[in-house]
């Protein structure tokens, strides 16, 4: 996702003179394509995220389309007040792009994990929250965010994840979930970098004769109302899947939606991270396995729920 972001940003920089890139001293050489062409619109803001976010807001309030980028906790919780007050209160069209969502940087330890950011950011008025499922969704989300006159948060995984879509998504729309595979028994609503695990789960389920619909529910705010209505009307089991805390994340947003719309539920499962820091050393695959978030573990739990 990361390299797709840098590549798409370079293209957008060529097309739109309002696009400005702010980096929190990461991405060595990653933005060379942008920097070479537009040195006056690239700023390494150093390890000073509060200032970076304020600068981005000031630029956006004066007609530019800044993109503020660094590792997830540092571009969200570290400067949360600047996001709330400078960006969202002013309705400043800043695009915040985070890398290393969830447990993508598991090996770096809990300082670099990010399982609370959706919760924080979706509670702030005027903020759009997008969790792309693969590199093509990153490109489409970034492009769509530049057409918005409001703040957007894009929550990316890392580099080199499996690519799910086979081509650029021409009809990508913020707030409109994408059906990856049709199914009849269970509806798996995936947000963000969990998408490849969810597709793997669907394959495993198919082997047991269970037909799963897979949805890349990339926008957590605003929710795709129509998609949720359809899912809960048609399926005897609906599950939300995210690499984020069960408190305040995508599954929580859907739970709120269910309560607020008084939608009857037959069975509803939420997959996510627990209310605990993941303190063990180890890469993302290990962390997912420990937390029950791998494809085969998801399939197992779904099978059990349907039994």
């Amino acid at each position: 996702m990361r390299n797709a972001f840098a590549d798409e940003l370079a293209k957008l920089g060529n097309e739109d003179a309002r696009v400005v890139m702010l980096s929190g001293d990461i991405g060595n050489r990653l933005f060379d394509k942008f920097k070479d062409k537009h040195p006056s619109r690239f700023f390494n803001c150093g390890v000073a995220e509060a200032n970076m976010m304020g600068v981005a807001a000031g630029m956006a309030m004066n007609g530019l389309r800044p993109v503020a980028y660094t590792i997830t906790p540092f571009v969200t919780t570290r400067c949360l007040e600047q996001i709330r007050t400078d960006v969202c209160y002013h309705e400043a069209p800043v695009t915040i792009v985070a890398v290393g969502a969830g447990l993508a940087y598991s090996g770096l330890g809990p300082t670099h994990h990010a399982c609370e950011d959706i919760s924080f950011l979706r509670s702030i008025p005027n903020m759009v929250v997008i969790c792309p499922g693969d590199a093509f969704e990153v490109r489409a989300a970034l492009r769509a965010s530049m057409q918005q006159d409001r703040p957007v948060y894009i929550r990316m995984g890392k580099k080199g994840e499996p690519v799910v879509h086979s081509a650029p998504i021409a009809d990508f729309k913020i707030g409109k979930a994408i059906t990856i595979a049709e199914g009849t028994d269970v509806c798996l609503l995936s947000t963000g970098n969990m998408l490849p695990e969810v597709i793997e789960a669907a394959h495993k389920l198919k082997e047991s004769g269970i037909s799963a619909k897979v949805v890349s529910f990339h926008t957590v705010k605003p929710l795709d109302d129509a998609c949720l209505k359809d899912a809960f009307a048609r399926f005897k089991l609906v599950a939300t899947l995210e690499e984020h805390s069960l408190i305040g994340g995508f599954g929580a947003a859907v739970s709120e939606w269910l309560a607020d719309t008084q939608t009857p539920v037959s069975k509803f499962l939420r997959f996510g991270t627990p209310d605990a820091f993941f303190k063990k050393s180890g890469e993302q695959e290990y962390a997912r396995e420990m937390l029950g978030l791998t494809g085969h573990q998801i399939a197992e739990k779904v099978r059990h729920a349907l039994a």
């Binding site: 006056s40 803001c45 200032n51 976010m53 304020g54 630029m59 309030m61 004066n62 400078d86 002013h90």
Partner: protein, 282 residues
């Protein structure tokens, strides 16, 4: 480069500015009494800075508050909103009668300046340490778009406690943002204590200089000197400029000056009369 047509930088008329500052103080005191709102002393201590800015320095037109080429003035110490509202209304950004709605239910004049609501308010402030980063972004957008406006940010001394101020200070220096001027309202008090006994600010000019700024100390109540120093921005130093303005909290009213009770206290009707008399407005 879209160069803003700047007012001729003639000598400030110190006498006229002084009178204007007294009127501004009189208005702020009336508002504080009517609303029984806090932060009167903080508003009085920066009245001369606002007067110098809006009556001599800023290239702004109240009839065109969104003019892209206008100079930006950010009241980073948003708790002095009464001073900003009185200034903007007097300049004609909105009707002077609207000042009567200060802090009233349903109005636009909240205790801190609002976002996207009131003409002339460049940024919503109130949480400290936000104005300078925003100002840096505005100054850079001017550079990117080839607009030569200037950015002034008025900070309180207590605000210098915030780390984001110093993040922005280093950033502005690295970017050589010579169109930015910070004015620190150095009245030696913060909300509940002497500022230098809370977090050590001194030597404040040296700190800003060490952070790469062209930093100067100035009498924050010499409205003529303030006007001259601010009008010189950009001053040819190639650096952002910091004016450490020595002020007195509650300035202009003997029984409020340097008495930190007036950070939160509002005056009675009798005190308003007394204060107006001292300001030569009665």
């Amino acid at each position: 480069m879209n160069v803003a047509v700047r007012k001729t930088a003639g000598q400030p008329d110190a006498g006229a500015l002084k009178l204007q500052a007294a009127r501004l103080r009189g208005k702020i005191i009336e508002m504080s009494h009517a609303a029984q709102a806090a932060h009167l002393a903080s508003s009085l201590s920066c009245a001369d800075v606002l007067t110098a800015a809006y009556w001599h320095v800023l290239n702004v037109d109240p009839k065109k508050p969104a003019d892209p080429l206008r100079d930006r003035f950010i009241l980073s110490k948003g708790h002095a909103a009464a001073a900003l509202y009185a200034t903007l209304a007097t300049k004609g950004y909105f009707p002077i009668e609207e000042l009567d709605t200060y802090c009233k239910d349903g109005g636009r004049l909240a205790e801190h300046p609002p976002a996207n609501l009131l003409p002339g308010v460049e940024a919503a402030t109130g949480s400290l340490g936000h104005g300078l980063p925003l100002g840096c972004g505005m100054a850079l957008s001017g550079r990117i778009k080839g607009e030569s406006f200037r950015v002034f940010a008025l900070l309180s001394d207590g605000e210098n406690n915030e780390g984001s101020v110093w993040e922005a200070a280093m950033f502005a220096a690295a970017q050589k943002l010579e169109n930015i001027c910070v004015i620190v309202d150095y009245n030696k008090w913060q909300a509940t204590a002497r500022s230098n006994e809370t977090l050590m600010l001194a030597p404040l000019r040296d700190k800003w200089a060490a952070f790469g700024w062209d930093a100067h100390e100035i009498d924050g109540h010499d409205v003529g000197a303030l006007a001259e120093a601010m009008q010189r921005i950009p001053n040819g130093s190639g650096k952002p400029v910091a004016l450490i303005a020595h002020t007195v909290k509650g300035k202009g009213v003997s029984f409020m000056e340097d008495d930190n009770n007036w950070h939160y206290r509002a005056p009675t009707a009798e005190e308003v009369v007394k204060a107006h008399k001292e300001l030569g407005l009665a």
